[in-house]
Amino acid sequence: MTSMPIDTTQARALYTKLVLIREVEELIAHAYAEQQMRCPTHLCVGQEAVPAAVGTALRPDDYIFGTYRGHGIYLAKGGSLRAMLAELYGKAAGVTRGKSGSMQLIAPEVGFLCASALVGGTIPIAVGGGLAAKMRGEDRVSVAVFGDAATEEGVFHEAMNFASLKKLPVVFVCENNFFAVYTHISARQCADNIYQRAAAYDMHGVRVDGNDIVAVYEAMREAVAVARNGGGPTLIEARTYRWREHCGPNWDNDLGYRSAEEAKNWMQQEPVKRFERFVTEARLLSADELRTIRERIVEEAAEALTFAKNSPFPDACELLTGVYAP
């Protein structure tokens, strides 16, 4: 018997985040049709294992930087669920008082420093987080989470070079879901080799099954340990799949840009059930425990949604406030 990669505490933490992300995203998908969340919303249903594992592998004081598809890492890093849903509803209790909606979530109190609606935008910003940590002699790690298309932007290259040059405590996590909106990676990139590009930057690169939360967690833990101990950056490519449409709550395989079989295959590799099977078979958690965790989350999510719906909008006079920091 091979040694168990995770223990019960880790299993519980991973499962909690995994299910939290899934349940919240599904709740949003359901509520979105009411047209009260009036902002572009990019769900990560199907991809939850990546943010859940990444968030679990980090300390609260580590930094993370993400994209417009950011609910997953926001929740996994410990951001307030109520404040996130309130933000989607454009309410004053939202993380940014309704000023940035789903695409630019933040939770600075738990190290989620920023997200961007510009593809690739936060990759170099995350490197800056690593630079700050290193300059101050802290053992903090800074993580950039981004999609496959973000690696086509010049800043990806610039950020990789600088992080490696200065041996910064950075982990680059690419969520490769093979698509940029409706365009397959093969129409955008010269090779399907994202993790191998690390070599060009004298950096370790690793590819993992992004629907296997344990695999992502292990790769992430190793990368974080290396970074924390002064060993410099790592690039992790986690291969996964987005279930719903690029932006919005619907299913869109009928558009014909990807095949039903492909989607079906990926859904058979569904990360939540797969992890449930793993932890129960490994007797890390019982089916009962899983049910309890999920029920608590469902309840919490429903409560947060009600809170968000019922909380007040910001006052009109806030339009011109907060442009500049005092």
Partner: protein
């Protein structure tokens, strides 16, 4: 033969027709050949023209360099950006390279590229997806900048842009995509560099940019009921700017209001005000005024975005104020009922 087409269809037809007649024309951009076809404006081109209508990697600066090089080598590329915000990644190529090439070649090289960019608003697009950055381009010698309002102008100006031997930044407002208008079949050009008087009036001139032309026309309708006669000039081309129709109109009416889709400070609306007052000293009956975006990024929540975008009622209020009138209450009520993060159904045309 003229038909009723949407703005999106007019754009599509312009590209399709130029591609038919000139094998040097091609179109490239993120999503050009995908199921949505840039909100319909590129749908069907892939089927008709194969690789000449193609998607591209997310590499805005590099790909702009690519079309500049293709242009120098004799092609006539069209690029699309679903949001003008993405062009900020490509300003080195657009401003440092494309805009300078003709001059720095001693007039020997043209760079016949057209860069289509969509500006927009609504549904919580927020700070990074709804900027209206036309003043950047209008500032740069070597670029041409057009912002058509009607389907007719969209087609005619896009054809003229593609046929132009210079880099043209072609800016489309997303809320115009569904408006209708009479559009002739076949190739025709609307000359770059001509403003257009779209409504005659005698009391006040509104010079409007892009979508704000529709808000201005609506304001003019509302004001007409109150006995105020407003002249509306659609700027259409920002560079080279055709200031004569605006100056002439302001000379006639004695009052100038500029309605812009962008920010005010150091923005395009300031240029219009400056040109007019430089020409018409002592001839205006009141101070010129600018209606533009408030000086802050775009908020996402409708609670704040509702007050972000100026609309016809704001123009009406400004006009009344400039004329020393008290605006009637009904004006305000007329539009505030419409949800402001979705395109206004009243604005479908035909124009």
């Amino acid at each position: 033969m003229s038909r009723l087409l949407t703005y999106a269809q007019a754009l599509n037809e312009a590209v399709s027709l130029t591609m038919e007649v000139d094998p040097a024309v091609f179109i490239i951009g993120e999503g050009v050949d995908d199921p949505k076809g840039i909100f319909g404006s590129t749908s069907g081109l892939k089927e008709k023209f194969g690789d000449r209508a193609s998607d591209m990697p997310l590499s805005e600066n590099g790909m702009t360099g690519v079309i500049i090089g293709a242009a120098l080598a004799g092609m006539r590329p069209v690029m699309t950006h679903q949001r003008i915000d993405f062009t900020l990644l490509a300003l080195d190529q657009i401003v440092n390279h494309a805009a300078k090439r003709c001059y720095t070649s001693g007039g020997r090289q043209g760079v016949p590229i057209t860069i289509r960019c969509i500006i927009g608003r609504g549904w919580g697009q927020g700070s990074q997806h709804s900027q209206s950055l036309h003043s950047f381009f209008a500032h740069i010698p070597g670029l041409k900048v057009v912002m058509p309002t009607t389907p007719y102008d969209a087609k005619g100006l896009l054809i003229a842009s593609i046929e132009d031997n210079n880099p043209v930044v072609f800016i489309e407002h997303r809320w115009l995509y569904n408006i209708n208008g009479q559009v002739p079949e076949g190739l025709y050009r609307v000359p770059i560099g001509e403003a257009k008087m779209v409504r005659e009036g005698s009391d006040l001139t509104i010079a409007a940019v892009s979508y704000m032309t529709l808000e201005a026309l609506r304001a003019a309708d509302m004001l007409a009921e109150a006995g105020v006669s407003v002249e509306v000039v659609d700027v259409r081309t920002l560079r080279p700017l055709d200031d004569k129709p605006i100056i002439n109109s302001a000379r006639k009416t004695g009052r100038l209001l500029v309605a812009d889709t962008g920010w005010k400070a150091a923005g395009f609306s300031a240029e219009i005000v400056a040109r007019v007052v430089e020409e018409l000293h002592g001839l205006l009956k009141c101070a010129p005024r600018r209606i533009a975006l408030p000086d802050c990024p775009t908020p996402t929540t409708p609670a704040l975005a509702n007050n972000y975008y100026p609309r016809s009622v704001d123009l009406v209020a400004a006009v009344c104020d400039m004329l020393g009138m008290k605006p009637d209450r009904p004006f305000a009520q007329a539009t505030t009922a419409v949800p402001l993060d979705l395109p206004d159904k009243l604005f479908t045309g035909p124009f």
